[in-house]
Symmetry: C2
Subunit: 170 residues, 2 copies
C-alpha cells in the first residue's frame, strides 16, 4: 500500500488563500492528476478539507472509498462512499491495509499532513508548485513535525510556470 | 537596478531549522551561487541574518556593500563594508539607486522579505529547494503580505535532489 500526498501549493506553501481561496489554481490542464486519480482506490482527508470539497457541490470522489479523519465523534457525512475515522492514524493505516487498499491519496489538509508526517505514514509527496505567493492562508506544512528526509524522483516544468515535484519519503 | 532574493529553503519553506540549523544545506557544489554573487555589488539583510552570518567567523562579503536593515537604532556593526539602515525600505531602495547599485542581493531573512514583498520591492526570486522537510525553524515567507504573482523563468533539477527555481516578480 502506498500513501501519496498529491497537492497543489503556492511558492510560499499555501494550499488555500484567505477564505479558502482556490482561484489561483491552474485549471488549463490536469497536471497529471487524472492519471494519478485513476489508480487511487482510497482517499483520506481532514475534516476541513472534506467541508471545502463538499462546498463545491456534487461529491467528486463518489466511486472511491473516502475516509474523513476528525477528532470530533459527532461528524455526520452525507456524501457517497464516505466514512468517518476518529481513532489513531497508525490504526487507520493498518485497517486500510487489511481492507485491501493499495493506492491511497492523502488529500489534505495541513493538520492531517502534520500528524501523518509525525507518524512516518506518508510514502510519496507530489507538489504542484504554482508561480504565486499568496502571503496568507492555509499552510500545507504547519510548524511542528520531525525533520523528514526526501528523495527527489523527478520534476517537471510546465509552460504555465507550474513546477511539479515528485518525492519519496525516506 | 535589480533586487534578487537568492535563497535556499527546505520543501516546507524554512531557511533555517531550529536553533538556526543549516546542516541540511547542500555544499557539494555551489548551485549557481558563485556566478550570481560575482555580479552582485550590494547586499541587504535583516539583523537576524546578519548575526547568523557573522557567527560563522570571517565576514564573507567584505568586498561588497553590505546594508543591515534593523528597527534598532543602536546596532553597531564591526564587519567590513557594512552600514546600518533603520529608515523606510522605499527610501533605502532610492538611496541604493542613487549610489549606483545595480545588482542587489536580498540575503534574508523572513521579516525583511515580507516587508520587501509588501512594498513591491523585489524583482527576482531564486529558490534552491532542498529535498527535506524541516518541520520547524525560520520561514522564508512568514504570514502576512499581499498576494504576489510570479513568472517562472526556468527551473533546474540536480542529481542531489535539489531543484532550483527562478522567478520574476510581476
Amino acid at each position: 500500500m502506498t500513501i501519496t500526498l498529491f497537492v497543489a501549493t503556492s511558492l510560499d506553501g499555501y494550499i488555500a488563500g484567505p477564505d479558502d481561496d482556490l482561484s489561483w489554481l491552474f485549471t488549463d490542464t490536469d497536471y497529471g492528476f487524472d492519471d494519478f486519480f485513476a489508480n487511487v482506490d482510497t482517499l483520506i482527508m481532514g475534516r476541513g478539507t472534506y467541508e471545502v470539497v463538499k462546498s463545491f457541490g456534487k461529491w467528486p470522489y463518489a466511486d472511491k472509498a473516502n475516509v474523513v479523519i476528525t477528532r470530533r465523534s459527532d461528524l455526520v457525512t452525507d456524501t457517497p462512499g464516505t466514512t468517518v475515522f476518529n481513532g489513531e492514524l497508525p490504526e487507520l493505516v493498518q485497517q486500510l491495509q487489511e481492507d485491501g487498499a493499495e493506492e491511497v491519496w492523502l488529500v489534505g489538509g495541513g493538520e492531517l499532513v502534520k500528524s501523518m508526517l509525525t507518524g512516518g505514514l506518508i510514502d510519496r509527496i507530489t507538489v504542484s508548485l504554482h508561480p504565486v505567493l499568496l502571503g496568507n492562508g492555509i499552510r500545507l506544512f504547519p510548524d511542528g513535525f520531525p525533520r523528514t528526509a526526501l528523495t527527489l524522483e523527478d520534476s517537471a516544468q510546465y509552460d504555465s510556470g507550474l513546477v511539479q515535484l515528485n518525492y519519496h519519503v525516506k
